[in-house]
Subunit: 658 residues, 2 copies
């Protein structure tokens, strides 16, 4: 029985939910395949996440290992393969709650960085899980700056071995997933030394645990780094190496090799390797960032259509909290962002596929642009979506704070995406460096990559909007975003030049501009996101009401960005105060329009109740029953020794006195 | 041995850390008392928080109960009393990690709402913990809007009893602390019915568990609501009542009484009661909001002085991350906010003490202003400090994400302060209602309370700053904040009037303005915070460098607020684009100035290592050693059954093949 407050929201949908789902999936056939995978996974009790919120870190780890092992069997049973159309839906269907993810990274590094001989040796047993791999790069004292890694690998000509060492505590490997308790092998990144000379960072395959009894190998100290905000199911680990010897063949040698006589040979172009690392930042967006945001929106919006609190009109019953303007203003822009980033992700995926094809043809021209885009968008999307999930959580008040709502775990998990695969501030500064370079080139009349050609065509002018409905024109707001991006990039470039010309050292000047460079990089990505959303809407079919509602969301995303950041648009008068009042007015009007379709818009994300795992967000909206049922299962409702030990002695002589 | 990178930061302090600590404590004598309490608590192993990050919810609860019971003994031993000068430091020294906090609320409600006879009956046994009390107001379906509570209390003349019932699931009491497992009694808020007529919400003392064996009383269903983002040590509970009968004397009857014949009598003024509820919002600021922020700043800033990553200048060693402008821009404004809110909290405490004296003299004139201030500042401070703690957490990269950093638990705990004791958006709208009323009164030439007299003196004008150093003048920036507050309040008042005049119903017009009303209320509180900080600095002694560094922090707080919200100041041209560039420049310059004293400024908060409970934030800055030592103690480093169960079968035939 569906909560009538939620049922009524669905009756008035202005568009076909099923058609929108198909659009998001990339076609009805994809929807069918995805649903089949979800059904197969969710009907299997081994993959259940039912008790997840009650489990300890140890229980979570054990469940994740069990699931990983069971998944091999399941895939075989179902006929799913790593290259089949089902594969990409498996991880989503499991909500990422599975072990051995780093095993895949281990295999990929061997495939990309290893010689043909190494691939032939390691990949087949790894594929069959006859060993469990990890990937040991980050150290206690070193993350972002890879050159700073301190682990050493010294070549011993006499034995034809590398001797690996952790010279001090800050050099200890720290964080690698699957390494704390599971892995038998790992790829260790270490400074290569030959005859006392350092050749920089290289990858080495190191066995860390016995294949016989799983005990640590001689010279190896390893374990789990302990509790984290989330990822309880992953055994992120530490690793110390003391004179651990590995054969010469264990240095991954597609690009660099150490010959038996100690000669160091560099061969081939590493560019495709850099490109692979770059694509990881894009590939995580869908599962690790967009899915959590879409889940959070689903939970918060369904709950807001069911929760009634206080009165909007005197004499009426308490109002749905979704009818309050403040609640709409919290949630609906996050919903619009989920769609905006879904479409920019499609755009980026396509661009990177094209880049991959070019690079395979030895054309590396696109690399700098792709690197800048992947860095900037990884940072902007993870940051924006993390903030959005937090807004959803807070918008559900006390019940959002309960783990049973599902929102806390979505938040604590997505938060990590701001840190891993490149810390966001560092990434934005890499994008900014590209933008400054392109701006200088464009100013000098040189050609620049497609995504930044707009820097060459700087128009002064003012925003031409005359009334508030003009701000529902994509041309009007897209140009405003473009104007701001150009202004921030050009003014920071000018500041940089001024500083250098006034005698400040280049690196000091750069540091003194970094706060503004970060803003410029964000503005660039924001502009491209708005532009892409508008162009996507333009191309949609007008049938089934899809284009109309997507246009509203695009407008909302764009106007929300202006409303939340008015200064950037007002600064040089591109948008006047009177026009800004129109923006505000149009923006607030849109909230009321989209509110009508809010529930259908999250229904279109097509999450099952099991995948949401939320007492607030289920399809039927029976929030209070579910909270009560779930709470009763909590281990905190088992008998506690606290009564006998502490409360009974405290209360002992009460009866006589009261 | 102190990390030399941290030691060097302390050698160049521009002010006396000890003097600043005394200023924060309210005098050197207070510092002495506080340190004595901290020393006594931290040297007692029962109060240890050492293993906190490794404990389950059940273990946390049991430890908290044990601590609460032990605390009674400790206070007796130490000669500490509830009225003594030590009392206020106990909770801080325990970091709030103790049970029976709601027992105090139970006692306070009886003291405030109960008759003399009820006080005489219940307070003595409660004081001696012969019963354990809780406070049951919030229901599954009802939080903010108290009139909506559904629990009923029907008066039965025949037996002179009230019959309490939970008519449906949404009426179940939900969240009350200490109620899930500990409490024997609770104050239940319920709709009073006499002869079928509803008299609204009243408080009733209800026994829920046996004093003999702690079993639930007949008709009572109660338990723990399960896992939350934090507060694992508290047994937040649920409670269902089915025909539970309590004697007539159990309705707290200082203000309202039901006579034996069923006559309902209202007596005295409840205003002092409302005032008590209002003061709770102010009283939580210090321990629940400022202390966590100060701890987070201490951890993040000490870590940033020790963590070296990447190079700032070519050829030099890796730089302290605190030397990067972007890192300064993350952390130093949060440090400035901690001081700004510390001083506004002092101001509010004083104002509320004065209010209390006036109210005791039956002068209720200050009530509306105090209510507006407590609502607004509770919302603004909790929101700002929660965001600030999150920034500190993220600024520590991967290590900030480890529970061992202490930052995740600070964040997940402070986050709750945005929700409890009044949801922030609702509170800001209450402040806004007051501001609109005062603005209308001021416009009509009527007198208004002191904190809003500025609304009467609206000066048009422009910001008179001529160069960037002018923005280091408190008059200049305080007036800018005042201007923005007036503009937002007056323009929203005008929008409200326009809507009503155009025929929109008053309540609809209000809802359509709420997004802007929230902004207006925030601007008002922000203005008062800046003004109070500037006035506080003005009055400080110039000795020992304290005034100078506080002036820098005041400037930073003010300019950060403008820099992060430029649109509000640019909108009507009060600050021009050229002036805004000066603000930016002054602001960025200040970061470099305050960076020099950043470590001494957090040292002045005077947290012990035990109270920080952080592997990143200890006084000696030995971050990596501590992370490694702590991780080794994690239960995730105990033998896991996963190997025997899942890994061994998986790896079984590896040896033969590899």
């Amino acid at each position: 029985s569906v909560n009538p407050d939620l049922a009524s929201e669905r009756q008035t949908a202005s568009f076909s939910v099923e058609k929108l789902t198909a659009l998001l999936d990339g076609g009805a056939e994809q929807t069918r395949i995805r649903r089949a995978v979800v059904e197969a996974i969710e009907s299997d009790p081994v993959f259940s996440r039912e008790n997840q919120y009650f489990q300890t870190q140890n229980e979570r780890y054990e469940a994740a290992v069990r699931k990983a092992v069971h998944l091999q069997k399941k895939m075989h049973e179902m006929g799913w393969t790593e290259n089949g159309p089902e594969y990409k839906y498996i991880y989503r269907a499991l909500s990422g709650d599975v072990a051995f993810l780093l095993h895949r990274v281990f295999m990929r590094s061997i495939s990309v960085l290893g010689s043909d001989k190494q691939i032939a040796k390691w990949i087949p047993p790894a594929t069959q899980h006859q060993l469990i791999g990890s990937y040991a790069q980050t150290e206690l004292g070193h993350g972002t700056y890879l050159q700073g890694l301190e682990t050493t690998a010294v070549f011993d000509i006499a034995t034809q071995e590398f001797i690996l060492n952790t010279p001090k505590i800050s050099a200890m490997k720290w964080w690698p997933g699957d390494m704390g308790r599971s892995a038998t092998h790992t790829v260790v990144f270490a400074q290569l030394y030959i005859h006392g000379k350092c050749y920089g960072i290289h990858p080495f395959i190191v066995q860390i645990r016995s294949l016989q009894d799983h005990s640590l190998c001689p010279g190896v100290t390893a374990g789990d780094i302990g509790p984290k905000m989330n990822f309880e199911h992953i055994d992120n680990g530490y690793l110390m190496l003391k004179n651990v010897r590995i054969p010469r063949d264990n240095m991954l040698s597609k690009f660099c090799e150490v010959r038996p006589d100690g000669t160091y040979v560099r061969q081939g172009s590493q560019k495709i390797n850099y490109f692979t690392m770059t694509t990881v930042r894009i590939s995580l967006i869908s599962d690790e960032v967009l899915t959590p945001l879409m889940k959070a929106c689903t939970i918060a919006i369904r709950y807001s259509a069911v929760r009634r609190q206080s009165k909007l009109k005197p004499g009426e019953q308490e109002a749905k909290i979704l009818d309050y303007q403040t609640q709409q203003e919290k949630l609906l822009p996050q919903l619009a962002a989920a769609y905006a980033f879904h479409f920019i992700n499609d755009y980026l995926q396509e661009l990177f596929d094209k880049g991959y094809r070019e690079i395979q043809r030895k054309n590396f021209d696109m690399l700098p642009e792709l690197h800048a885009l992947s860095s900037g968008f990884k940072a902007v999307i993870t940051h924006h979506c993390t903030a959005a999930v937090e807004i959803c959580l807070r918008a559900c008040g006390g019940h959002g704070y309960s783990l049973l709502s599902g929102l806390p775990s979505l938040y604590t998990k997505i938060l990590a995406s701001c840190i891993y695969e490149g810390e966001n501030t560092i990434l934005l500064l890499q994008t900014a460096r590209f933008l400054i370079k392109c701006f200088m080139a464009a100013s000098a009349g040189q050609p620049v990559p497609p995504s930044v050609t707009y820097l060459a065509a700087v128009k002064p002018g003012k925003c031409p909007a005359k009334n508030k409905s003009d701000f529902l024109s994509p041309d009007i707001y897209t140009e405003a975003y473009q104007h701001v991006a150009v202004r921030l990039i050009s003014s920071t470039a000018a500041k940089l030049q001024d500083l250098v010309q006034s005698g400040v050292k280049k690196y000091d000047a750069w540091n003194q501009c970094t706060v503004q460079l970060v803003l410029a990089a964000k503005a660039h990505c924001h502009y491209i996101t708005v532009k892409n959303f508008a162009e996507t809407v333009e191309k949609l079919e007008t049938k089934a009401g899809i284009q109309r509602i997507m246009k509203h969301l695009c407008d909302l995303f764009a106007l929300h960005g202006i409303f939340s950041n008015t200064g950037a648009f007002l600064h040089d008068g591109y948008i006047s105060a009177a026009q800004m009042d129109m923006v505000t007015s149009s923006y607030l009007d849109l909230l009321a329009v989209i509110r009508k379709d809010a529930v259908p818009l999250v229904d279109a994300f097509d999450f099952t109740d099991k995948s949401l795992n939320s007492a607030l967000g289920s399809y039927d909206g029976q929030v209070y029953q579910r909270l009560y049922e779930w709470a009763q299962k909590s281990p905190t409702n088992k008998m506690s020794p606290a009564y006998e030990r502490y409360l009974k002695p405290l209360l002992h002589n009460t009866l006589s006195k009261l």
